[in-house]
């Protein structure tokens, strides 16, 4: 949806992830970019250069926060220090919405720093939704949950991944950060039809879309964010845009990061799909 309550009623275009190898280029050349996504944890600090650079970016660009360690799906309660620091950052960036992953990664106070897959059970959906609500209420901004790439499925699962996603977002009444690359990766790893997934997502809840590249191994695919987006993922993106309309889209490129222009050009390829969505909406 172009603007909805899950993205703060904004109408953002195509963004890219703010990464340190590009800082100099961005601050000196001031390229035209619709918006940047930052990894919240990189700026949940007390001072120093990262915050100075962030403030310079904020003077000129729109910024949206994306987290990697809230672990909505962890059975334990949210870490209060994490929440406090996150809220401080939210007040600094004035991000219109905030996203993190539909996954878990910590237990008993120990962190794996990974995006571990959820068991798709009703108990997990209930616990996860409760945590999403708690975080949103504390931060006082819309929250969107992102589907992750996964390499394992659990015996205890009671539903498909997309059914689980729907169960969580309905219970939490939150938005979705739809990562079409993650859907593709998981569909290959678990042998399901990615279009069934895309077609099952409640379109009205999609706050943002992620696109990215990945690495293919002999028996599985890894979500590495170190390549351009492949055609099958663009086709999924096209279908997603067809369903949800002109939606804020972000290219993730986190490893073997090429030049700023190369990353931006790759992201701007999304324009051809967004343009047709705008045309369809106009007609």
């Amino acid at each position: 949806m172009p603007a909805n309550r899950f993205n703060g009623h904004t109408d953002y275009g195509i963004g890219i992830g703010l990464r340190s190898p590009h800082y100099h280029h961005i601050l000196t050349r001031k390229p035209v970019v619709d918006w940047f996504e930052i990894i919240s944890e990189n700026f949940m600090i007390d001072g120093g250069r990262p915050l100075r650079i962030l403030d310079q970016i904020l003077e000129q660009y729109k910024v949206v926060q994306h987290g990697v360690s809230m672990y909505f799906g962890s059975a334990e309660r949210p870490n209060r220090e994490h929440l406090r620091r996150l809220k401080t950052l939210v007040q600094r960036t004035k991000t219109p919405w905030l996203s993190d992953h539909l996954c878990w990664g910590s237990v008993d106070g120990r962190y794996t720093h990974d995006l571990l897959p959820m068991p798709y059970t009703f108990e997990a959906a209930r616990i996860t939704a409760q945590k999403v609500r708690e975080v949103r209420d504390f931060l006082e901004i819309p929250v969107a949950v992102e589907n992750v790439s996964s390499y394992a499925e659990f015996h205890v699962s009671e539903m498909t991944e997309w059914e689980f996603l729907n169960e969580v977002v309905e219970r939490a009444d939150c938005g979705i950060l739809l990562d079409v690359n993650n859907i593709y990766v998981s569909s290959q790893n678990h042998s399901f039809d990615p279009f069934t997934y895309i077609n099952s997502v409640p379109a009205e809840r999609v706050a943002q879309i992620h696109i990215a590249g990945h690495s293919k191994y002999r028996k599985y695919i890894l979500d590495t964010h170190d390549h351009p987006v492949i055609d099958p993922v663009w086709r999924l993106y096209a279908r997603a845009i067809e369903r949800v309309g002109h939606t804020a889209t972000l290219l993730e490129w986190d490893d073997s990061i090429p030049s700023f222009d190369e990353v931006h050009d790759e992201a701007l390829k999304a324009n051809r799909f967004l343009a047709s969505a705008s045309l369809a909406a106009a007609v």
Binding site: E41, N42, F43, M44, I45, D46, G47, G48, R49, P50, L51, R52, S69, M70, S74, A75, E76, N79, E81, H82, R85, W104, S106, V107, D108, G109, R110, Y111, T112, H113, D114, L116, P119, T121, E123, A124, I127, Y151, A152, E153, F154, H155, V156, N189, H190, S191, K219, Y220, L222
Partner: protein, 305 residues
């Protein structure tokens, strides 16, 4: 199976150390069968067994934390050598897994852990501990809090006998047995060169760095690790300078700190006032003191660079 129980079982498996060949162990160090652990919770598919699917996460965990740890402690790596450092890193991360939402804090317990486990550094124990202290102070200085700095006018009418000055939270004071600041700068220079150099050039620098470590002799230094214009610096201090700053940091009044630091000093009595004035001028210019009404706090739950 309840969510918490499943997550405990999976996390335990994911954090189990890898084999030397960086594969998942068939049997965990405590005797658990990893195949049974995987089969109990994870479905196989037409290409991968439960064990192989769990192994993807097990390997990713170790690759991630080991690479983050090595990135933060290149100096300790130079001191111990690559192979010993890698073994030490695994042992440390088994004993001290991350307890923070950010990888930035992964090495926060390395100094105390190394002190309790001297066998990892052997004859270079003191050198390794000194280097770990310096590298952790560097992380703290990089993104520590900066309180409003003290200005000369803030001291108008203040009684020095009662005045307590507080150091900026990002400043660390280190009394070290080895001149590890020089060594760390050399290691970093070497690392920067590697980005652009040919193999021959890199090899020459590597040998030079190894030689520097081998020849490093004990030589006590006093160091302030601090930040200026968002860059981190290592500033060597005189013994008396260090003593004054340490006393101030411990909460002593200005007069008491100066008096204690200069007791037994080799600086001639007639020269002491000039020295103190010069030191305070430098520290103030560097912004090391917080304004009197700023409540200093040290924090170590921030992000990685």
């Amino acid at each position: 199976m309840k969510l918490l129980s499943l997550q405990r079982r999976m996390a335990r498996a994911v954090m189990t150390p890898l084999t030397r060949a960086e594969r998942m162990r068939p049997v965990a160090p405590d005797g658990r069968s990893m195949r049974a652990a995987a089969s109990a919770i994870i479905k196989p598919n037409d290409r991968l067994t439960s064990f192989e699917r769990l192994e993807i996460y097990n390997r990713q965990y170790w690759f991630r934390v080991l690479s983050a740890f090595a990135e933060d402690f290149p100096g300790v790596r130079a001191v111990l050598g690559g192979r010993r450092f890698d073994a030490m890193a695994k042992a440390y991360l088994i004993d001290c897994p991350s307890q923070s939402f950010t990888l930035r804090n992964l090495g926060s317990r390395l100094v105390s852990w190394l002190q309790k486990h001297p066998s990892w550094a052997g004859s270079r124990q003191n050198l390794a501990v000194d280097m770990a202290r310096l590298e952790w102070a560097d992380i703290e200085a990089f993104d520590g809090l900066r309180e409003p700095s003290l200005k000369p006018e803030d001291l108008t009418g203040v009684n020095p006998a009662k005045l307590r000055l507080h150091l900026q939270p990002y400043v660390s004071l280190l009394a070290l047995r080895y001149p590890v600041d020089d060594l760390l700068l050399e290691v970093r220079k070497d690392s920067d060169d590697l980005d652009v150099a040919s193999n021959t050039f890199s090899e020459r620098h590597k040998r030079k760095r190894v030689a520097a470590v081998a020849q490093l002799k004990p030589s006590a230094i006093f160091l302030a690790v601090h930040r200026l214009d968002e860059d981190v610096y290592f500033r060597r201090l005189d013994r008396e300078e260090f003593a004054i700053l340490t006393a101030l940091h411990a909460g002593k009044t200005l007069n008491a700190a100066i008096e204690a630091a200069l007791r037994g000093s080799s600086i001639a009595l007639a020269d002491r006032a000039a020295h103190v004035e010069k030191w305070f001028h430098t520290w103030s210019a560097l912004g090391w003191f917080c304004r009197l009404d700023s409540a200093p706090k040290r924090n170590s739950t921030a992000s990685r660079r």
